[in-house]
């Protein structure tokens, strides 16, 4: 046996041990990461799933013209401003005739959501012939009732619902006059002070318009900058300086971009507060470095031999970029852009600075109407005192995570699709 072989055999066992150790460490890290994800998801889903359903109460509604204070049932104005809450109060009083006293009655009225009146208004507006009839309707319960029913037997003690009201609710449950239904309003409404009426749609629309502005600005600017820096810019001190600064910019805390946006877009240019356009501009500043860096990396990965071949045939630099570099680099650029957008979608701090944290009930109709965004909505709800907002917060987080997962999947799919397989 040669000396080398001997030496190799001696060290072999050690090398294998080192490899095993390394593999075990890698596995442990992966497992740790997975566990963190599992814990996060179970927590969020555990807390949030209940927000996707809400409680309804069955009541006998008498469409009484006098109670509604309607003189002329054909006048839409009068219909709009009629006292629909009175109908609900009536129905509740008739349902629980034993309730006496102002305070008790107030508690009784609170069983039904304050938004139920609008449901009645809309219903009457659609079916005016209902006036004078009586029908059984399912009306949205107040969030305290909802909360009380969603809590387990033991935890019910801690619910905010008054002692009396619990008895009424228990009675309703026994009769089968309560029902849990799919919480459609969570996906169609804007924010509200009442948890049972609040929804994420306003925030989703705000996020959508903000992202639209960000994408429309950041992608073209980022790609153009990357192409210029990679393909056209002379390599000198100045471009080195730019390169270093782009990398620095990527590391700047996002709140600084918010302050910058506040100082420049709002204070200097006088743009309105709380609007997606300004949010988009700020997030563009924040996303640009990410997009530029990833676009440059994917341009760099295009083999130089392809460029030489095209140049050698007499293609101009612009043609080389358009015909060869861009198509080959595009999948990487798109992936980078989507990852940048996903970051921007989850960004909260800079948007707080430019006022997108305002309480906005209306669904934004465009990039210029006041709006909030999903992460800020989460922040707002997490800060609210009502216990029901806890599950709403988790539900909103689920929606946000859903969008993020969708975007990341899109990035992977796009890369797979567009990547040349030859």
């Amino acid at each position: 046996m040669s000396k080398t072989t001997e030496q190799v055999r001696k060290t072999l066992a050690r090398r294998y041990r080192a490899e095993k150790r390394f593999r075990a460490m890698g596995m442990a890290s992966v497992l740790f990461g997975l566990m963190a994800v599992v814990v996060l998801f179970t927590d969020i889903i555990g807390k949030g799933h209940s927000a996707f359903v809400e409680t309804y109460i069955q009541l006998e509604i008498r469409w009484d013209q006098d109670e509604l204070y309607i003189d002329d049932p054909t006048d839409p104005d009068e219909l709009a401003y009629a006292d629909y809450d009175a109908l609900i109060k009536n129905a509740l009083r008739e349902r629980f005739p034993s309730v006496e006293g102002r305070l008790e009655k107030r508690n009784l009225y609170k069983l039904v959501s304050s938004g139920a009146g609008y449901t009645l208004r809309d219903r009457l507006a659609e079916n005016p012939q209902l006036l004078g009839t009586t029908e059984t309707l399912w009306l949205l319960a107040d969030d305290d009732v909802d909360r009380y029913l969603k809590l387990g037997q033991e935890a019910q003690e801690s619910a905010r619902l008054p002692e009396q009201a619990r008895a009424w609710v228990d009675e309703l449950v026994q009769e089968g006059s309560t029902d849990t239904r799919w919480n459609a309003s969570f996906f169609t409404h804007g924010d509200s002070r009442e948890p049972e009426q609040a929804g994420v749609w306003g925030a989703v629309a705000g996020s959508f318009f903000t992202m639209l502005v960000t994408l429309a600005l950041a992608f073209p600017i980022g790609v153009a900058a990357a192409i210029y820096l990679e393909e056209f810019a002379p390599k000198n001190r100045f471009t080195d300086f730019i390169e270093v600064n782009i990398n620095n910019l990527a590391a700047v805390p996002s709140i600084i971009f918010g302050l910058l946006g506040l100082a420049i877009f709002i204070n200097l240019f006088g743009m309105p507060r709380s609007v997606p356009v300004v949010g988009g501009l700020v997030l563009t500043l924040m996303t640009l470095p990410t997009i530029i860096i990833s676009a440059r990396a994917s341009i760099k990965s295009v083999p130089p031999s392809i460029r030489e071949a095209a140049l050698g045939l007499g293609a101009s630099r612009m043609q080389v970029v358009m015909h060869h570099v861009l198509p080959l680099a595009l999948p990487g650029m798109l992936t980078g852009a989507i990852i940048g957008m996903a970051q921007a979608l989850g960004e909260t701090a800079p948007l707080l600075m430019i006022g997108m944290v305002a309480f906005i009930v209306d669904i934004p109709g465009g990039p210029l109407s006041p709006a909030t965004v999903l992460p800020v909505q989460i922040y707002l709800w997490a800060d609210s005192p009502e216990a029901s907002f806890v599950s709403m917060t988790s539900a909103a987080i689920m929606v946000l995570l859903g969008f993020l997962i969708m975007m990341n999947t899109l990035a992977v799919v796009l890369r797979k699709r567009l990547e040349r397989r030859w």
Binding site: P234, S305, A310, L313, G314, Q319, W422
Partner: protein, 296 residues
Amino acid sequence: METAPNFTDTGNGPASIPAAGDKGDNTMDADIRYPENTVGKPLVDDAKMRMRDVNVFYGDKQAIFDVSLDIGNNEVIALIGPSGCGKSTFLRSLNRMNDTIDICSVKGELTLDEQNIYDPKLDVVELRARVGMVFQKPNPFPKSIYDNVAYGPRLHGLASKRYELDEIVENSLRKAGLWDEVKDRLDQPGTGLSGGQQQRLCIARTISVSPEVVLMDEPCSALDPIATAKIEELIDELSSQYTIAIVTHSMQQAARVSHRTAYFHLGRLIEVNETNKVFTSPDHQLTEAYITGRFG
């Protein structure tokens, strides 16, 4: 046009080395061994391209020193020399591919049909359409075989109708000796071909725009003997229509395909002669040392 400097054309036996000829054959003391001028016949009467006093720099580093050389019409000239002596650098300055390297600068007079190719008025796009290049590593575009060949003609608008383009593609592939192998799969990726086929595809792509001069930088270095033989055959056929400059590390290849051979050494053009003569009785000791395999 300046006249050719007084070249030493002794015709028989290695030229005497200016100064210090007394050192042994094997001492490669470079400084003193260079001839003042290129020996042999670097200049011809019927020249397609003329290069005079070409100096090429990479930043501060000089890669080519005072090279003067003519490339004749319809001639195949082989550039040989040890690795790093500047063959590629010289070749790339003939169609201004060196422009793409920021730090590279080319000095001297280079003409194509008596027209200065570094003239700012001459468009580099036009130059490269007239002086095509085949690279050392096959570099087909990640597109179909058809699109690879059609790219140049499309770029320069050489065909207005589809059938014209088809014709150009077929002709180019035929000339490159690839037509029979690929005619049934023109829509398949060019990168899916074998190395030798890829290189012939690249040659077809280069000649599709009907250049006047074809520059080849070690076109066979990645190929097996059969593919090499095919490409050499091809060069032979092409030489009736095109002017070809080929860089090669294979002495046999240079001997087989070229009319004249130029020997480079450390950035200097040492000797240019008829290929036969270079390989049988070179004028310069360095050339002899190289072709007999004493270095390089």
